[in-house]
Amino acid sequence: MIATGSSPIVIDMQGVTRRFGATIALNNICLSVPRGCVFGLVGVNGSGKTTLIKHVLGLLRTETGSVRVFERDPVADPVNVLSRIGYLSEENDLPAWMTVAELIRYTRAFYPGWRDDYAEELRQSFGLEAGARIGTLSKGQQARAGLLVALAYRPELLVLDEPSSGLDPLVRRDILGAIVRIIADEGRTVLFSSHLLDEMERVADYVAMIDKGRIVLSAAMNDIQASHRRLTLRFEQARSQPPALAGALAWEGAGHEWTAVCHGPIDEVRAAVSASGARIVEEHGVGLDAVFVARMSRPSAMAQAE
């Protein structure tokens, strides 16, 4: 049951900075996750995705800035916030000594919105035996068990921290299917972080890219796909270095032909290209992984010379 008059912003992080000793894990993060969308977090290992998610769940206290989930502070009011969140963590931390039936019975007590029939339906479709001990389940089955207890009470916010890491395609399909089913319900939101960018492209509405604790890109998926293009340019004279082009993110190539992933309104890019004296030979749309790689690669990692 969604409370009437609920705010359109489910997660609101403002100016969150977090240090672990000398390393800065999050650097002035400002993030707003609107209700009813699938929000994806993309970043390399160690870029701060898990730290961000932990702030959302209240597992980390904010040093600076504020975090508001459902307009409440998850640290000060864990009961209200956590009872509306379903969480699947990257590594399995379900108690290994419990059986699946005991896990269901235990988790059921905490959430008033739990639906027994839905939980049973999930259990059967996931193929989890009620008497199986969680410690003896395979990694994929453990992930399914964690997904079951995160979904069965139809949470308003589903938080997944790299849910597909190390799992086989069948389990990944189950997880994606769960995301799609949840989001099809009015008013529910999904926040998930992943490396698997093709999966994210399929289900995410908004994407935020994090690099070294800073958000380098935060936009709707449609906008990202529309505003990035891969252009192959042909130059009259062979060049050893790619030209400086406004909007070009990363270059590849050698000699006469250079390929770049470009960002920005396409007319401006085309104008800039003609101004530099090259001809556009090929033009493609780019997928999310190419955008990610282009934005994450260091400026020095440009194409080889000669």
């Binding site: 969308c37 399909r173 799609v180 093709d198 289900v203 796909q225 891969r230 493609h284 749309g285």
Partner: protein
Amino acid sequence: MQIHLTHQDRVPTYLQIVNQVKYLVASGRLKAGEELPPIRALAEQLVINPNTVARAYRELETAGVVAKRSTTGTYVSDAGSPLARRERLKLLTERIDALLVEARQLNVGTDEIIDLLRQRDKSL
């Protein structure tokens, strides 16, 4: 309705759905008046965001391929809907432009293109 998505060409997902629905309508596998699956069902089947499916349906509606009846769902519209014809011609013009550009780059003459068109029309 069988839709297959691919990531090969970097074509946006909604566009793939739009194109495939158009192809199905054009090849007769989707008859006029036939109902398209609800947004949620198609999203679950393809395991993609329902908003993507919604966008595809909106595009199809703008293009006149389908018509949305508010309570009952989305249906394939009759072929000769006059309001959408302009839209359809505009879309085809864009496609023809892209085809001609590609042909020029690959050094294929316009006559050869016309012959190819006739050939493909016969086999469809």
